[in-house]
Subunit: 274 residues, 6 copies
Amino acid sequence: MTQAVQKVGKPFKRILLTGAAGGLGKVLRDRIKPWADVVRLSDVVDMGEAREGEEIVQCDLADKETVIKLLEGVDAVLHFGGVSTEKPFEPIMQANILGVANLYEALHKAGTKRVIFASSNHAIGYHRTTEMLDANSPTRPDSYYGLSKVFGEQMSRYYYDRFGIETVCVRIGSSFPEPANKRMMSTYLSYDDLTELLRCALFAPRVGHTIVYGMSDNDSVWWDNRLVAHLGFKPKDSSRTFAHLFPDSAEFPAPDDVTTIYQGGKFLLDGPQY
Amino acid sequence: MTQAVQKVGKPFKRILLTGAAGGLGKVLRDRIKPWADVVRLSDVVDMGEAREGEEIVQCDLADKETVIKLLEGVDAVLHFGGVSTEKPFEPIMQANILGVANLYEALHKAGTKRVIFASSNHAIGYHRTTEMLDANSPTRPDSYYGLSKVFGEQMSRYYYDRFGIETVCVRIGSSFPEPANKRMMSTYLSYDDLTELLRCALFAPRVGHTIVYGMSDNDSVWWDNRLVAHLGFKPKDSSRTFAHLFPDSAEFPAPDDVTTIYQGGKFLLDGPQY
Amino acid sequence: MTQAVQKVGKPFKRILLTGAAGGLGKVLRDRIKPWADVVRLSDVVDMGEAREGEEIVQCDLADKETVIKLLEGVDAVLHFGGVSTEKPFEPIMQANILGVANLYEALHKAGTKRVIFASSNHAIGYHRTTEMLDANSPTRPDSYYGLSKVFGEQMSRYYYDRFGIETVCVRIGSSFPEPANKRMMSTYLSYDDLTELLRCALFAPRVGHTIVYGMSDNDSVWWDNRLVAHLGFKPKDSSRTFAHLFPDSAEFPAPDDVTTIYQGGKFLLDGPQY
Amino acid sequence: MTQAVQKVGKPFKRILLTGAAGGLGKVLRDRIKPWADVVRLSDVVDMGEAREGEEIVQCDLADKETVIKLLEGVDAVLHFGGVSTEKPFEPIMQANILGVANLYEALHKAGTKRVIFASSNHAIGYHRTTEMLDANSPTRPDSYYGLSKVFGEQMSRYYYDRFGIETVCVRIGSSFPEPANKRMMSTYLSYDDLTELLRCALFAPRVGHTIVYGMSDNDSVWWDNRLVAHLGFKPKDSSRTFAHLFPDSAEFPAPDDVTTIYQGGKFLLDGPQY
Amino acid sequence: MTQAVQKVGKPFKRILLTGAAGGLGKVLRDRIKPWADVVRLSDVVDMGEAREGEEIVQCDLADKETVIKLLEGVDAVLHFGGVSTEKPFEPIMQANILGVANLYEALHKAGTKRVIFASSNHAIGYHRTTEMLDANSPTRPDSYYGLSKVFGEQMSRYYYDRFGIETVCVRIGSSFPEPANKRMMSTYLSYDDLTELLRCALFAPRVGHTIVYGMSDNDSVWWDNRLVAHLGFKPKDSSRTFAHLFPDSAEFPAPDDVTTIYQGGKFLLDGPQY
Amino acid sequence: MTQAVQKVGKPFKRILLTGAAGGLGKVLRDRIKPWADVVRLSDVVDMGEAREGEEIVQCDLADKETVIKLLEGVDAVLHFGGVSTEKPFEPIMQANILGVANLYEALHKAGTKRVIFASSNHAIGYHRTTEMLDANSPTRPDSYYGLSKVFGEQMSRYYYDRFGIETVCVRIGSSFPEPANKRMMSTYLSYDDLTELLRCALFAPRVGHTIVYGMSDNDSVWWDNRLVAHLGFKPKDSSRTFAHLFPDSAEFPAPDDVTTIYQGGKFLLDGPQY
């Protein structure tokens, strides 16, 4: 039980980042390099040349054989791939449902033991903005997209119960350079806090199957990470830095506007129509 | 607010039973006739000639256009179609995930307002047999099949939150002529009790989105329907009728056998392998 | 600690029944006689001559001095007095708020130690009919009347916390000869079960401050008395006796009718207008 | 869904502050001016001349017709009026029960949509000082005054359920220049924090029916606002500034003194006597 | 996974009953014989000659070496030994604390896998008679005796967490020929129901670490076995058979008598003195 | 109810610190002096000469008569005595079970009213490191030592329920100069924070029976003191000061190592063997 600090070099040999050409993928590409000797980047689109310490694999997650190769030699996965907006059901199913099924089958074969799954607040978007949620709250998807994220969370739960593969599901709020509307004052997650949350999720001694809300230290929030303090995530940023963008005197959607009532915001206006 | 008894004839004009050629479909075919002028029966296999009061439609649930036609004129749906055992992921996805997405899109178009969804105890099969579950317990799928049932429950929740379409998800235990093993002493649901549960779910004044466990009045149980007593379901049968089949002196799987530890039973031995 | 059965005669010397000329008051007048040497009956209207074993006091509960006299020599109270339907606020305040304040002040002075307060399901009428409530559920009054019942429950709680005066608040469902509409199939309380519930509430060794739902053993219910089994109340009747009055083929208010959505039923159509 | 910042000037046209001549009313009179073009001040006593940006209305809340006029043209209400100490029941009923009934009837007529109700810790004063409460804890009034505050909270809940009128009930602790005794080290609410809490309650995009505890960031507390973080209230002050007033070496009421056992403090010594 | 009924003869080879000369030990001696080829009986006092199918071992549970021998060859234990009334601490510690430590050490060595531990309602006797408890309620011992039962429950939990040894802790109410006082109307457990509960606890496929309340189907109860329905225990008897012994007109301890307030009854008058 | 600051000198006349020669005893010896005129120090080993303001008593807690003398004249107790590591059961029983029984009997006789009991995280060590515990979580002892701490907590609960003697049970994490391994990053309690926690526990106006986790303001934690904020304990230190000792690149026990899975860490490798 002595815990000598024997290891040298970077903690992981190879981390896979899927969706590496997407919005958050680009943000993370360099930030995750300290964590692994090699960062493997995948996306369905062409990403050009690999830089030092990178491997680049173009890959459609719906193609199982390719995904199985993608995972070979991978210690840990940051799964940011797939569709990230509301769309008709079938493309979401291919990318986010079949995609995640292929991913877990592949990482199980590969012996990967730690996964970070980019879930979304849209898995719980039909809860009201006057409710406080935690990791145990029931899911309430607000869109096909949200449904696919619930599916991914459940797939990861299944692989944990059956094979002990650990996953942290991060229900990301709004990770952008700054809040684009009043709602995002509650859901804002700075890029630095996102990175720190991923670091915590990768390096916590044990995570089992953890569901955590991805948000900065905002003043007004709807989510409470109290139950998952084992991760050790302490956000450093806050949307209050941007409070001047949304003064009390501005006009906002009315309290009984559907985007104000429910946490999912404008996703409730997309998808199958009323 | 007077509630004069004005209506005559059968309560529904047309009920759709999917999976009508399956095990429970055959059981239900005649039992549901008193509830509707017309019973529309569908299955992916050929069902022969329609009998009086029936309409028969052969239909693959993964084919959206066909499903849209299938729902036309339908007041209420008993959704027993799809795959009902563990299989590789893709066929389950086609029948149970794409199938249920097509179904809800179609019934929303058709104006159907009440759905009974045949969910399964395998949506919660990774809970232990020493735990007591109710409608609020978190799902713990024990198989791809179980995952697809969780997905169907969530799809129905989404259509309820968005469009007010009411669904009762019945997590069916073991609905067979008699318990086939000791585990089924806890999960047994007689055909009569199944029929009564469906009747309650169809005729309760309001069900919203209800999750109910489908079990008879067995002595040893893992599930409690206390939270959904608005359905008015009172089982009349019990597995204790069959207690003589499983005397104390018989040999059963050991307490630390995976099929004894978890509620899902032998489904934990199927699916992706250890 | 020996518990010799020494007492003879009736258990109480004098029970007061308020609202004795009201609907339930008349039902109870004779049924409660075995419990006390003298039954004192009060109402705001004239009740004629007292019969054997009775005392009759005409009394407006809003008149404190009269109420103080009314309680003299009273061992236990069954408080059924006051307004029992929706009305403008001021008459409800006089009868049900000032009335209950006077009552507790008076019974505290008189040394009365056990009170049964006829509360109402309208104290929780804005809960949905798909919710299961128990004694700990938050109140959701559906009317000024319901508000006054919540007030009475809180007044009795206050006198319990401060002076140890024990009250059982009975949230009466629908106590009529038979269910008058489909909703009452869930809320029905037979006269015999009402009487038995009162008996249990009076004679349980200790009740502290108990909230119990007054309903018979109906099939479909929204309330669970599990938490107050110390009362020992076991209903013998059930609305299922009247199931034939409300066949599945009859027409009822729609699932999205306000009287179907909420437990309070038609009280939601009374009161201050939409 | 674009959220252009179009509005100019102050956020509200007219805010009504009742109880404007009371202790907290005077504190708030100038502090709330930035929030509205016009601040209407009312009290039962004469308040002298209106200053710039003010309207002054002398008004007895128990007089419905006057209250209806008082609310005309009012966007939002800060209801600090009524009796604020323990008294015999009838004056409390007039000011705090009839008063609040009149107020809600009037503001419903006037189309007012947001109310801040000055509730009190005496609504929960019979909880013990070793208990942690949140917005869902049951009420335990410690006085007639506390009972009237519970009534006001329930009235506001009723108007929310029925008409969608949003209210924030602030269970104010001890809002004074400094803690006057050891108990107030737990219940202290600075004037600045009170003001900020009111601002949050007025300007949060949606509040539904919210119950929040009014306290500063004190070290020892009995209340947790975790469930209502949607308000975005972050106190800046703390009673620890005044810790030197109550050193460990001082003498305080004994642990088994009724004012130490229960949260309500000395209110438990007022009211109807033991 | 086939569950052929192959075993013949009695279910267990050897069951140990400790405390066999005690009140309940004598009741059980013959009733448990169908469950094992051999019943080993132990007690600290002499029990005379063994009858057919019995082994008799005189044994002080505080003597570890003897206890280790006592458990040799034992499949399952019914632990009814030790002190069963309030006494000074040291004799209780020897028999019930050191005794249970010796027992678990010995049965772990012996490879015994299922234990029934006769715990007591005095493990929770300081809960009020107006509270409803279940298997998750916190313990509130009412005596040194009650403390020793809590200790036994925790010891068995420890051996389950560490070694997987399954124990059912039965918090026995009042198991006598008939209720001896009014309190026992709530706590009564008939001998037949006790026997059936033990049978369920021994033969349930898996029990893990289960806490169950030992009571018959009484009308007034304080305990709910809802969470442990996996045991399949359905009591057949009820104290209502004896209701005539305690008519409403009899005199009982007052509602504010300590034996009426708390579940532990007269144990609260024993032990260290007030 | 005036709270004049009348008392002079130190708050307590005499505090007893047991286990004064142990690791934490030595740390506390001088730190607690400001709280009492006299600090009585006891231990089973010789402690040499008393310094100013001290009394020294060598005492075996298993010897009741000596313990009774030890408590004479004692206002408050800090109970740090007994065995503090895993050992065979009997010595733990003598020191920690008989010892604590003697202590409470003695302090009850002496009229002592406030006790701080040094409990341990090993009372809950069989909870997983992915679980969040609070004061209400069930105990899960991970050793005989942990069992003895659960016993002490229950003994103090019993004396509170029976005699109103107040105890704060501090489940101490890892109170050392710095974290000795990665696990202690979660359980670290600095000496200053320990001292402050004891001060809060001694001087809070009322503590009843409080269970609090002894930890500093660490980033990753498994315990939440939210429910006991009445103590007013705000840690000032954090294990994050020592984060450099355990960089992400170091090697730690695997996620499925028993010392990583469970909160108790290496105590799970001691005690009775697997």
